[in-house]
């Protein structure tokens, strides 16, 4: 393998750690799992650096790797927690001592996003936050564009309703 490519990938990882973590958290709903997923993603990316196509976006390639690791591990393990664990709404919460006013509102929105079905949550993150086009999201998700649109519409409808209820 080209050592130059490996160095490029390795050097480029750091800029994307936070966004990879946010994606991993959206998928897994657990902060420690998110960190493990990011670590696994980075190591696999370095290992497979020769598969990265120079001139394409490193972050998109990393997202695809992260998603594939998550899916494989999810499928491999059918034991799942029954209760007593965080739901995604809690896991996505913005916490910390510096909870300023904007974050209180962010926390409310995140709670609503955390309560969405996981497929909707992932699609919302990819399109509205990470800037994937419908086509790009469909490709990553392995789903038709119409499915991407339906998930986004359903998520918008729920988030709109939640917001209206809160204001009422």
């Amino acid at each position: 393998m080209s050592d130059g490519l490996r160095e490029d990938v390795r050097g480029g990882l750091e800029a994307h750690l936070a966004r990879l973590w946010r994606y991993a958290l959206s998928l897994s709903g657990a902060r420690d799992v998110a960190e493990d997923l990011v670590q696994a993603t980075c190591l696999r990316a370095i290992e497979r650096a020769d598969q990265f196509q120079p001139g394409t976006r490193l972050d998109r390639w990393l997202f695809a790797i992260l998603r594939s690791i998550w899916l494989n591990e999810s499928r491999a393990r059918r034991v799942r927690a029954g209760q007593g664990v965080l739901d995604a709404g809690e896991a996505l919460s913005v916490d910390g001592a510096h909870e300023i006013e904007t974050n209180i509102s962010a926390a409310q929105v995140l709670r609503a996003i955390g309560a969405l079905p996981s497929a909707q949550r992932e699609t919302v993150l990819l399109v509205y936050v990470e800037g994937y086009s419908y086509r790009e999201a469909a490709e990553l998700l392995g789903a038709p564009i119409g499915t991407v649109m339906s998930r986004l519409a359903a998520a918008r409808a729920t988030l709109t309703r939640t917001h209206e209820t809160k204001d009422a």
């Binding site: 390795r10 990882l13 750091e14 750690l17 936070a18 946010r22 958290l25 897994s28 657990a30 902060r31 420690d32 799992v33 960190e35 493990d36 997923l37 670590q39 696994a40 190591l43 370095i46 290992e47 690791i69 591990e73 999810s74 393990r77 059918r78 034991v79 799942r80 927690a81 029954g82 209760q83 007593g84 664990v85 965080l86 913005v94 910390g96 904007t102 974050n103 509102s105 962010a106 929105v109 995140l110 996003i113 996981s118 993150l125 509205y128 936050v129 086009s133 419908y134 649109m149 339906s150 986004l152 519409a153 359903a154 998520a155 918008r156 409808a157 988030l159 709109t160 917001h163 209206e164």
Partner: protein, 257 residues
């Protein structure tokens, strides 16, 4: 406000700049003529912005320094090709974490026919063996859980089996924590013990399996005892001598049967 899902899809694609030309023109004509559709568009408009703002706030809480130093130490430990062994460790860590988080869709239970039941029954025990390999003495806490009584009461309800601290105390082993997992949709209770510094777990799956006598076996360095009665499968597992494990298993079987 009542609008159809189809309209929501169109409005969403319109807001996202993803509606194809002909449909966009048609929708704009309807919007011009229909105030309630316009109101719906305006209401839905803000959702994406609020989502972006919320996720931006979340991004600020990312543990970047931790992740960076973890990655650097992993890479420094074996610069060229550490991927294989480390990947396995990480994969297992992810797998275990998944145990602690309900994710994804549940496959139908017992989807295989009667011939597959035996294999299904062994599957959950194999899954327990796999995640037991990751437990350390710390996994079961420095001290017994202060909420142990409640945890056991909750397990008793879900598993339909009488479980309390007295019943679960065998010889010199005392339960330290109890938690509810699930396997293929069936409640799986786990009670954690420490034998000295060695984690030992007592697992109960309420899955309707037929009665089976107590038997011991070993796998991957673990001794384990399994039996089934009253529609529940039981398993005791730990890296302790098989005779010792068998003695605990006999007492537990008697007290929880």
């Amino acid at each position: 406000m009542a609008t159809s899902e189809d309209d929501d899809r169109k409005l969403t694609a319109y807001l996202d700049g993803e509606l194809e030309e002909a449909k966009r023109v048609a929708l704009e004509a309807r919007l011009a003529a229909d105030p309630s559709l316009r109101a719906r568009l305006e209401a839905m408009h803000a959702a994406a912005d609020r989502t972006r703002a919320a996720f931006a706030a979340l991004l600020k809480t990312a543990p970047v320094a931790d992740m960076r130093s973890r990655l650097e130490s992993a890479l420094a430990a074996a610069p060229a090709r550490a991927a294989t062994p480390r990947r396995r460790v990480v994969a297992i860590a992810v797998a275990v974490a998944i145990v602690a988080f309900a994710a994804g869709l549940g496959a139908g239970r017992w989807s295989v026919g009667a011939g597959g039941e035996r294999a299904e029954r062994d599957d959950w025990r194999q899954a327990v063996v796999e995640y037991m390999a990751l437990y350390t003495p710390e996994s079961f806490g420095e001290a017994p859980s202060p909420r142990l009584g409640e945890e056991l009461a909750s397990l008793s309800r879900r598993l339909g089996a009488p479980l309390d601290v007295d019943r679960l105390k065998v010889d010199d082993l005392s339960p330290r924590r109890a938690e509810l997992l699930q396997y293929d949709g069936a409640p799986l209770g786990q009670i954690g013990y420490l034998d000295g510094a060695t984690p030992v777990a007592f697992c109960i799956l309420r899955d309707g399996e037929p009665d089976e006598a107590l038997a011991t076996s070993s796998r991957d360095g673990f001794a384990f005892a399994s039996w089934a009665q009253g529609g529940r499968g039981f398993m005791l597992i730990g890296k302790i001598p098989v005779e010792r494990l068998m003695a605990f298993a006999r007492s537990l079987k008697e007290k929880t049967g």
